[in-house]
């Protein structure tokens, strides 16, 4: 018998940029911001040179090219090597200028017109449209075309901007925090940038004091204070107190940033083993040392039951746990341990506000409120932690559906297509309705994972953590500012398949586009069909809303936000 062997895959088998040469690395080591890094602090297996060679790439932008767009999800930061860039300050550029799709609801007449204007061949595209509107600048590197601004002087005249020049670092908070970019940055002159992917950025932050201080300081200054102020437990604090809380807050990340890549591999894995492998954030029984606040991603909340752990619920962005336990401990109760284990579901970014800070700024407030006759603060706490405590009494059977939804990461969905199979007569009216409203081709498959009588069909769930948006080179896939749905701008989609490959639920499909006669539109260079990414857009431009749910004669199909779903024996409520 022959044994197949392969050298063990290594971290840097797939470098970020394939063009990095020794000369490039040498040159980068001479850049002041990199020269300041203490290279000897890095372990030999993750050397600074290695990071530059494998986790970074040099990108060239022409004047007018958009480097990052407001609202995009990115997984890299940029260091300006030379040239000049502009940050567009609030209110920012209009969506169409950024290559976004303009959503306009059809009126009754336009809706009716679809009856006779729809082409018989599916996925028909008028290619004239792409020539006039796309604003795409082709790039020699496959999959890295840029959207560009056609009239930079006009943009500068009509918008407030700030200049970024050599040595400026930007995009690091969104890359590490998995949050949308907060502004648009474009090249004012031809520029050269060092793009560092999040893995490299993480290592730089980990091993170099200067970069860590810089990134953390920026986070505390720019994002943390605003984030804390928006939470219900710290909304009563004023500027100085809030700053003190922000200064004392610790940031932690658990799990892997690219959880979507390993998610599919884990599908066949034993469910119990899967739970055990998750990184623990809080352990059941441990003394609470602070309030845990989820900033991004999801955390599983479980309790020990027999030989395994029962998932009772989960925490999403903006939710927190631990205040109740610390409060009881503060009031003198003994043996107050955490009642649950909290572990990272995929990737989660948390803030840990230490007990001392909580006692000073939260409990003192609660006490004063109580003495003043109101229990606002305490009630807030009870309401929040009550969400978890309410689940303690549920039986294994009652919690099974919720556990399944957490296990399959469907909790990520804000508009998941949930089908009650006990009502669904498999008539496919939903599929036909979808095809009728989308170029004759349905944007979902009425098939998917099932649990008991519930099926989550293969339709875009418009995720809270949209990993499909990470890495789109043109920003064609984006979250709509009106409505929050994740949509694709067909005009700027270059068919690179990044989004389709990233979607952990396989809900994005690449389709060949056709001309009026139903013939594939071909790339003149290689004669291969031009493909575009397609997915459910929640019928954003239709007056009926999602046609699938509107067309279901048995009310079996619903679009649900899993965060709002309450599972009962009779059905799914809470929508």
């Amino acid at each position: 018998m022959t044994i197949t062997t392969q050298s063990r895959p290594q971290r840097w088998d797939q470098p970020f940029g394939s063009e990095m040469t020794d000369a490039d690395v040498e040159r980068l080591l001479g850049v002041p911001e990199i020269q300041a890094i203490e290279a000897d602090k890095f372990p030999s297996r993750i050397s600074l040179e290695g990071i530059l060679r494998n986790d970074a790439r040099i990108m060239k932008y022409k004047a007018g090219d958009i480097v990052i767009r407001e609202g995009d999800y990115g997984n890299s930061a940029f260091l300006v090597l030379n040239g000049s860039l502009r940050v567009v300050l609030a209110p920012g550029l209009p969506g169409e200028m950024l290559g976004r799709r303009k959503i306009q609801k059809k009126n009754i007449w336009q809706a009716l017109k679809q009856l006779w204007t729809q082409k018989t061949s599916p996925e028909f595209r008028d290619i004239q449209r792409y020539d006039h509107k796309s604003g795409l600048r082709e790039s020699a590197v496959p999959g890295s075309s840029h959207v560009f601004l056609q009239d930079v002087p006009a943009v500068l005249d009509s918008n407030k901007t700030a200049v970024l020049e050599g040595g400026a670092l930007f995009g690091e908070l969104a890359a590490l925090g998995r949050t949308p970019r907060t502004s648009t940055i474009f090249a004012e002159t031809d520029s050269e940038l060092l793009e560092i992917r999040w893995q490299g950025l993480r290592e730089l932050r980990k091993y170099d004091q200067g970069w860590r201080r810089l990134i953390d300081q920026r986070y505390r200054q720019n994002a943390l204070k605003a984030h804390l102020g928006a939470t219900s437990i710290f909304s009563h604090l004023d500027g100085d107190d809030l700053q003190e809380v922000a200064d004392n807050t610790l940031f932690e990340t658990y799990g892997t940033f690219d959880w979507h890549l390993s998610y599919k591999k884990l599908q066949g894995q034993d469910r119990i083993e899967g739970v055990k492998d998750e990184p623990e954030i809080f352990q059941q029984g441990a003394y609470p040392d602070g309030v845990l606040m989820v900033r991004a991603g999801f955390a599983r909340v479980s309790v020990e039951r027999g030989n395994g752990r029962q998932t009772i619920t989960y925490l999403g962005a903006g939710e927190f746990y631990g205040a109740d336990e610390i409060y009881r401990s503060w009031k003198g109760e003994l043996d107050v341990g955490l009642k649950v284990t909290i572990s990272a579901l995929g990737y989660v970014e948390v803030l840990r506000v230490p007990s001392k800070t909580i006692e000073k700024h939260l409990f003192a407030y609660w006490e004063s409120e109580r003495q003043g006759g109101t229990r606002v603060g305490e009630m807030k706490s009870e309401k929040r932690s009550g969400r978890i405590h309410d689940f303690f009494d549920q039986t294994l059977a009652e919690g099974a559906l919720q556990e399944w939804a957490v296990q399959e990461r469907f909790v990520n969905g804000t508009q998941a297509m949930l089908i009650n199979l006990d009502k669904c007569v498999r008539c496919d009216d939903c599929v036909r309705a979808c095809a009728s409203t989308h170029d004759g081709n349905p944007r979902f498959v009425r098939h998917g994972k099932t649990f008991q009588n519930w099926m989550v069909a293969n339709a875009c769930m418009h995720c809270a953590d949209p990993v499909c948006m990470i890495g789109c080179p043109t920003g064609a896939i984006h979250r709509s500012l009106s409505g929050g749905m994740v949509i694709i701008n067909d005009d700027t989609c270059i068919g690179c398949e990044t989004c389709a490959n990233s979607c952990p639920y396989s809900n994005i499909r690449m389709v060949s586009i056709n001309d009026e006669n139903g013939q594939h539109i071909l790339d003149p260079q290689n004669h291969k069909p031009i493909v575009k990414a397609t997915k459910c857009d929640l019928c954003a431009d239709q007056i009926t809303g999602p046609a699938c749910a509107f067309a279901c004669p048995h009310e079996a199909l619903k679009r649900v936000d899993f965060r709002d779903v309450t599972w009962t024996g009779e059905g799914v409520g809470g929508q």
Binding site: K106, I108, A111, L112, Q114, L115, L421, D422, K423, C424, V425, R426, C427, D429, R432, A433, S436, T437, V445, R446, H447, T450, Q452, N453, M455, Q542, I543, T544, A547, A549, F550, A551, C552, P553, H554, E555, A556
Partner: protein
């Protein structure tokens, strides 16, 4: 459920009003058939609108599930209005008898469809496997190929043709195409019993290596049985409309002709 009762109450009220109106017209020595006939025609139009609505999913014409309830309740209302209009269960005259046959046929197929739509989804869910109807032929072909490959492999590896003989004598018939369709439609268990029997009857004639292959074939047969069940029930769920809709179209055509004839020769 509350909503259904709302529709039923409205339909009942409508019927009572029409009935009262016909009694009043009858007592004043006019023709009550015009009232009941007009109401029946209106309800038939509403029934037909459901099909039109299905073809216009992009227009805000009320959600389909509300139309479905309206259609179901209106179907029963139409039956009562038909009896009120005809005044008998079985009318006289060839034309109206043909019309009655078509009308009863439409109603009966509709009721059967409604019953199937209430019962079958639950039965399909309990199978524990979901399949897309259009993909069933491909799924069955895949299973058959796998089963036949296992039989060939068993013969090659063990040098015994016992399993192969049995496959070509009995199991092959089962794997060939959907089986036990009628039994499945009535929710029967014949297929399951048959598969278990065919697998167990052979077991004592096989050695351990062959039994491994038989086990794998039995697993495939069980999957195939579930797909057959889906095929049978989903076929019914899709095909009953091929009876209901043409009958309804024929009723509509004859009703229009009936109205024209009444207008021309009676009034």
């Amino acid at each position: 459920m509350k909503r259904v009762w709302g529709y039923i109450a409205t339909a009942s009220l409508f019927f009572v009003l029409i009935w009262g109106w016909t009694l009043q017209v009858d007592s004043s020595l006019n023709y009550p058939e015009f009232i009941s006939g007009g109401a029946l025609f209106f309800v038939i139009l509403v029934l037909c609108m459901f099909n039109v609505r299905k073809r216009l999913p992009f227009l805000p014409l009320w959600p389909a599930h509300k139309w479905f309830l309206l259609h179901s309740v209106s179907g029963f209302l139409a039956l009562f209005l038909f009896w009120l209009h005809a005044d008998v269960l079985w009318p006289k005259g060839l034309y109206v008898q043909i019309l009655a046959v078509l009308f009863y046929g439409t109603t009966l197929s509709g009721v059967l469809g409604l019953i199937m739509e209430k019962i079958y989804p639950n039965l399909l869910t309990r199978v524990g496997l979901e399949c897309i109807y259009e993909r069933i032929p491909r799924d069955l072909a895949d299973i058959r190929n796998k089963a036949e490959n296992l039989v060939l492999e068993c013969t090659e590896k063990t040098g015994s043709d016992t399993l192969a003989q049995h496959y070509f004598e009995t199991l092959g018939w089962f794997f060939q195409r959907p089986r036990f369709i009628i039994n499945n439609i009535f929710g029967g268990q014949n297929a399951q019993t048959w598969v278990m029997q065919q697998c167990s009857v052979l077991e004592r004639f096989l050695n351990e290596a062959e039994r491994d292959y038989l086990d794998q074939i039995c697993v495939l047969a069980e999957t195939k049985r579930k797909i057959d069940f889906h095929y049978s029930l989903q076929t019914m769920l899709k095909k009953w409309l091929l009876v209901h809709v043409p009958l309804a179209a024929a009723v509509m055509a004859m009703v229009i002709w009936h109205i024209i004839v009444i207008q021309v020769f009676f009034i």
